[in-house]
């Protein structure tokens, strides 16, 4: 699976899931509040009934007693009565009520209902009924159902996303195979050219042909280099780094040798100072790409008959040329170009983006010093 494909799946999945979950959450919250409201309403209705039962009893006691008035008592609820100035007349409640304005409320584990009475039997202008609150525990059930639904959504959405992205994936695969095959086919002619030039007997040539031959060789090297860059960029996503302890000194020497032909043509003086046996843990191909790109840039931009210095120490590699150099602005645009790589893919930025991606992977620092008409010095440190 490609990195980009994985990312797409995650994005789509994330988008889909977050919107669905939001919807589910809203639905459940609404349901929960609605249900709670309903239960409260039911509770209130019960209390209202109690309240009118109390009122009936108060009337009865008021009318039918003379010497003593027995306050009405009920099994399933408690009650209290207050006079019109809100003084307590009689109470069987567990709690003290200080606010008679609200008609229905919860306090502790009880629910209360207050109603005003007229006529004031036994002097009661307000009655308060109190009952054990029915626990509203729909929340647990609701959470369990929600969790089940959410898991189902996640599972189905995963398959759904895969299904939706399938055509895209197939196309990508097709394209990828095409590119792989064509690049592979490009490889053969290039190596053939290079190999054949190498085996050409230079003694059989006059000097003029020899020079032409060398130019062909340099051109082929450039193509080959470009080809390597392309392969690197195209297949990079799939190839995981195979890091090993590399002898950087050896590799550097090889690469310098590889470019020596091109340097010769420009009559460049290659000044190489490589410390022996500098080791670095990295992927061989990537290190080669890194060195090639910096080196070929130096060769490309330096003037004829100048000196290119390649210096390797234990923790640094610097390659400097005596080319036309870059202004401070240009240097910063190079870095910008690295960053903009994804948008300006291809074109000028290829070499820099490869450099950037490799040094980022291995935590190598890059420093570019440049002065106009004096030259550029690229230093890698690790």
């Amino acid at each position: 699976m490609y990195k980009s494909e994985k990312q797409t799946i995650f994005y789509v999945l994330g988008l889909y899931l977050s919107s669905t979950l939001l919807l589910i959450a809203t639905l459940f919250a609404t349901y929960y509040f609605y249900k709670q409201d309903e239960l409260m309403h039911a509770e209130k209705e019960i209390l209202k009934e109690y309240s009118s039962a109390l009122e009936d009893k108060l009337l009865f006691v008021h009318e039918n007693s003379d010497e003593k008035y027995e306050y009405p008592r009920f099994e399933n609820f408690n009650s209290a009565i207050y006079d019109i100035d809100k003084n307590l007349i009689f109470s069987k409640l567990d709690a003290k009520i200080d606010n008679l304005d609200k008609d229905f409320f919860f306090k502790g584990s009880n629910s209360y209902y207050i109603s005003s009475l007229k006529p004031h039997y036994l002097g009661a202008a307000y009655s308060v009924v109190e009952k054990k609150r029915k626990p509203i525990d729909i929340l647990n059930d609701l959470i369990i159902t929600a969790l089940i639904i959410i898991t189902i959504t996640i599972i189905t959405s995963f398959f759904l996303v895969k299904l939706v992205l399938r055509p895209l994936r197939d196309n990508l695969r097709l394209l990828d195979n095409f590119i792989k095959e064509t690049t592979h086919e490009l490889n053969t002619p290039i190596t053939t050219i290079l190999a054949n030039i190498e085996t050409l007997d230079s003694k059989n040539c006059d000097e003029k042909s020899m020079r032409k031959l060398q130019r062909i060789k340099t051109a082929s090297t450039t193509i080959s280099n470009l080809y390597q860059d392309l392969v690197y960029l195209l297949l990079n996503h799939q190839i995981s780094s195979q890091n090993e302890e590399l002898n950087l000194s050896e590799i550097l020497n090889q690469r310098v040798h590889y470019f020596s032909q091109a340097a010769n043509i420009k009559k460049l003086n290659l000044h190489v100072a490589v410390k022996e046996n500098v080791f670095f843990n990295a992927d061989r191909q990537k290190m080669e790409r890194l060195i090639d790109n910096i080196l070929s840039n130096a060769i490309k931009y330096t003037g004829k008959s100048t000196t290119i210095k390649v210096v390797l120490t234990q923790h640094a590699l610097s390659i400097s040329d005596e080319g036309k150099g870059m202004s401070q602005d240009e240097i910063s645009t190079i870095f910008q170009r690295y960053r903009r790589f994804d948008k300006t893919q291809g074109g000028f930025g290829i070499g820099y983006s490869i450099i950037k991606s490799i040094i980022d992977e291995y935590g190598i620092k890059i420093n570019i010093e440049s002065e106009l008409d004096k030259g550029t010095k690229v230093t890698l440190t690790w």
Binding site: Y69, D83, I84, L122, G123
Partner: protein
């Protein structure tokens, strides 16, 4: 000192009580109606303050509209005479009336 105050209070209540017998009970007797009237006032006015105020109001100026008694009753026997007692004594009488007859203290 305490004894004197205690004596004074007791004699005062006794005095009040006895004057209640004189001022009110001579007409109202010990009949159940006085009881019933308190019930009616309680039912209509609810709190002690308002009941006392309403009774005071009535006794100062009895009218059939203010009366808590059934219309037929008032119609037949007419309202009572205005009280001849001064406000202070009347209030004391009403206090005694309330203390003896109020419903609140009889709820259990």
């Amino acid at each position: 000192m305490v004894k004197i105050i205690l004596l004074a209070v007791i004699s005062l209540t006794f005095l009040n009580a006895s004057s209640f017998e004189e001022n009110c009970l001579n007409c109202h007797g010990n009949d159940f109606k006085f009881n019933m009237m308190m019930k009616k006032y309680t039912q209509k006015y609810s709190s002690e303050k308002r009941i006392k105020e309403a009774i005071f109001d009535y006794l100062k100026e009895p009218t059939s509209e203010k009366s808590v008694l059934p219309y037929e009753y008032i119609n037949r026997f007419g309202t009572k005479e205005k009280t001849t007692l001064d406000d202070k004594t009347l209030r004391e009488m009403i206090d005694v009336y309330y203390d003896r007859f109020n419903l609140r203290s009889k709820i259990y």
